[in-house]
């Protein structure tokens, strides 16, 4: 088509566009048409010859399909052109953004449902990283680092843990794979533990664990004794009243495959974060490394 003709056509389109304010009621004569019941409007051009209608439509079509096609191509090729590294970093940023949004709405007072004992389901076991070696339960100890008022690590035994207040809860355990079970846990609330073994504050001032938990170091790094499995937690989730350092599951001491002698149990995060066979706890200002986050899973994995 010549440029002249194109210009004439475009002029017609513009002229028509001005006239599409020409609005009529839809099917006013038909009271049984939903369109007239709801007072739908139609936007109609003036009557045109078939030829004129075709011309106008072909100009519109060209524009519409060009814009649409170009957008689709930019979308498809833009996506393909993006390297895997760019996409990975995009997803990680999305996870981190989602984490920030989650934390805005996070309230320690929001509790997960506590189920009656008859709702407890059979134990389902998954994940053996960090549990490969035999464990001598009698020789097991828990190492704590990052405590207020001391530079060295503190070593605790099971007897020390058992001295702390015992808490039981029956909560839903959710695996990142998508299944869930209901488990009866017993152990020590992490917040009770931290009230005795106080974490450092970010400023170095003496900690007020119950009153001002937001002043504590923001992260907790935990790992198995062989350090082959490790997780990182944010302080608000680990201090949630339903986060336990658990030693019993469904009325029995933890079995080795479920994390004997001590593990984390919490409805605030997926199972991948509820580390088994806990060997070391460190309060830290740096975001800790996390076993499954290194495989592309959400570091926060919080509920």
């Amino acid at each position: 088509m010549s440029d002249d003709k194109k210009e004439i056509l475009l002029e017609k389109v513009r002229e028509f566009e001005k006239r599409t304010g020409h609005t009529v009621d839809s099917f006013p004569a038909d009271p049984n048409n939903t369109a007239s019941i709801l007072n739908e409007k139609r936007h109609l051009s003036e009557p045109l010859s078939l030829e004129d209608a075709k011309k106008q439509m072909s100009a519109r079509s060209r524009r519409g399909f060009l814009v649409g096609g170009a957008t689709a191509l930019i979308g498809i090729f833009g996506w393909r052109w993006m390297s895997d590294e760019t996409k990975t970093s995009l997803y990680r940023k999305a996870f981190e953004f989602n984490e920030k949004v989650s934390q805005v709405f996070f309230r320690p007072s929001h509790l997960a449902a506590d189920f009656p004992p008859e709702r407890v389901t059979p134990i389902r076991t998954n994940g053996f990283e960090g549990l490969e070696q035999e464990i001598d339960l009698a020789a097991w100890t828990l190492t704590i680092a990052g405590l207020a008022g001391r530079a060295d690590d503190l070593i605790l035994t099971m007897a020390d843990i058992k001295k702390l207040p015992r808490t039981e809860m029956i909560t839903e355990f959710k695996c990142i794979e998508g299944w869930s079970t209901i488990v009866h846990w017993a152990g020590v609330k992490f917040s009770d533990f931290a009230a005795v073994y106080k974490p450092k504050t970010a400023s170095g001032a003496p900690p007020d664990v119950a009153g001002k938990p937001e002043e504590l170091l923001p992260y907790v790094a935990m790992s198995t004794p062989d350090e082959k499995y490790y997780v990182g937690w944010d302080m608000p989730s680990i201090m949630h009243p339903q986060t336990l350092i658990a030693y019993e599951m469904n009325g029995e001491p933890l079995r080795p495959e479920n994390g004997a002698p001590l593990r984390i149990a919490s409805p605030t995060k997926f199972g991948i974060k509820q580390i088994k066979r806990l060997g070391r706890i460190e309060f830290t200002s740096e975001r800790p490394k996390d076993f499954w986050a290194e495989y592309g899973y959400d570091w926060y994995s919080g509920h």
């Binding site: 009529v24 048409n33 369109a35 709801l38 997803y91 999305a94 919080g302």
Partner: protein, 233 residues
């Protein structure tokens, strides 16, 4: 025969309609990558499993196994775009008055079967048709509600503790996941019927979702110039 151009779909609706296509595709695809890790749903009748979601060859053919992490990355990135596009669509539809073309009324239930019978060439009588007929109104409203349902069940699976009221509303974590799954299947079924109907309706109808305009047989006499001036203001 005189023709008229009818502006059927506003620019905003067209953009949001087409943007939704890749977004919903990505949500369903990434949802499949996630679902693979716990593939528990099936159609069962009297204890017999009629169809398992999904047969192993289906997963293998699409290369789905062992991609849970990637699925979650995609799902929790595209969820924002899907939800925001859907939210703008709903707000726009309400504010612009487009809802008048999409919502059904109670008597739509009476008229909708006529559409199916007419489409199946069983009944000759044409069902009342505005921009959409009553069956379309019910379908399009339902699919919007399905979108709302997907977002809400999705949120209740994503944050079952902080949004526990929502999770409880859907009958708990397991039920929320079940509803989320079946809503997805419903989207796929909607898509198949939608594409079939668009093919049946023909090119001019399809083109109207791209250009905004459809060509129709003239329905009214040419307005007086004065009236047309007035309308333009």
């Amino acid at each position: 025969m005189q023709k008229q151009l009818e502006k059927k779909h506003p620019l905003a609706i067209r953009w949001m309609h087409w943007i939704n296509f890749p977004l919903l595709t990505m949500m369903i695809w990434s949802g499949l990558l996630i679902y693979w890790a716990n593939q528990v749903y099936a159609i069962r009748l009297f204890g017999y499993e009629l169809f398992k979601f999904f047969p192993q060859p289906f997963f293998d053919f699409l290369g789905i196994p062992q991609r849970l992490a990637e699925g979650m990355q995609l799902h929790f990135f595209f969820m924002w775009l899907f939800a925001v596009n859907g939210l703008i669509y709903v707000v726009y539809t309400l504010v612009s008055g487009e809802w008048r073309s999409i919502l059904p009324v109670p008597s739509s239930l009476k008229r909708a079967p006529l559409v199916a019978l007419h489409d199946a060439h069983i009944v000759k009588e044409k069902p009342p048709q505005g921009k959409y007929n009553d069956a379309q109104r019910i379908a399009y409203t339902a699919v919007i509600l399905m979108g709302v349902g997907s977002v809400l069940t999705g949120l209740s699976i994503y944050k079952p503790l902080q949004l526990s009221f929502l999770t409880t509303l859907f009958g708990g974590y397991e039920w929320a996941r079940w509803i989320h799954f079946w809503l997805t299947i419903s989207f796929v079924l909607f898509f198949l019927v939608h594409v079939f109907q668009v093919i049946m309706a023909g090119w001019s109808n399809f083109r109207s979702m791209i250009t905004g305009y459809d060509v129709i047989d003239a329905v009214e006499p040419k307005p007086e110039p004065a009236a047309s001036e007035e309308a333009a203001v």
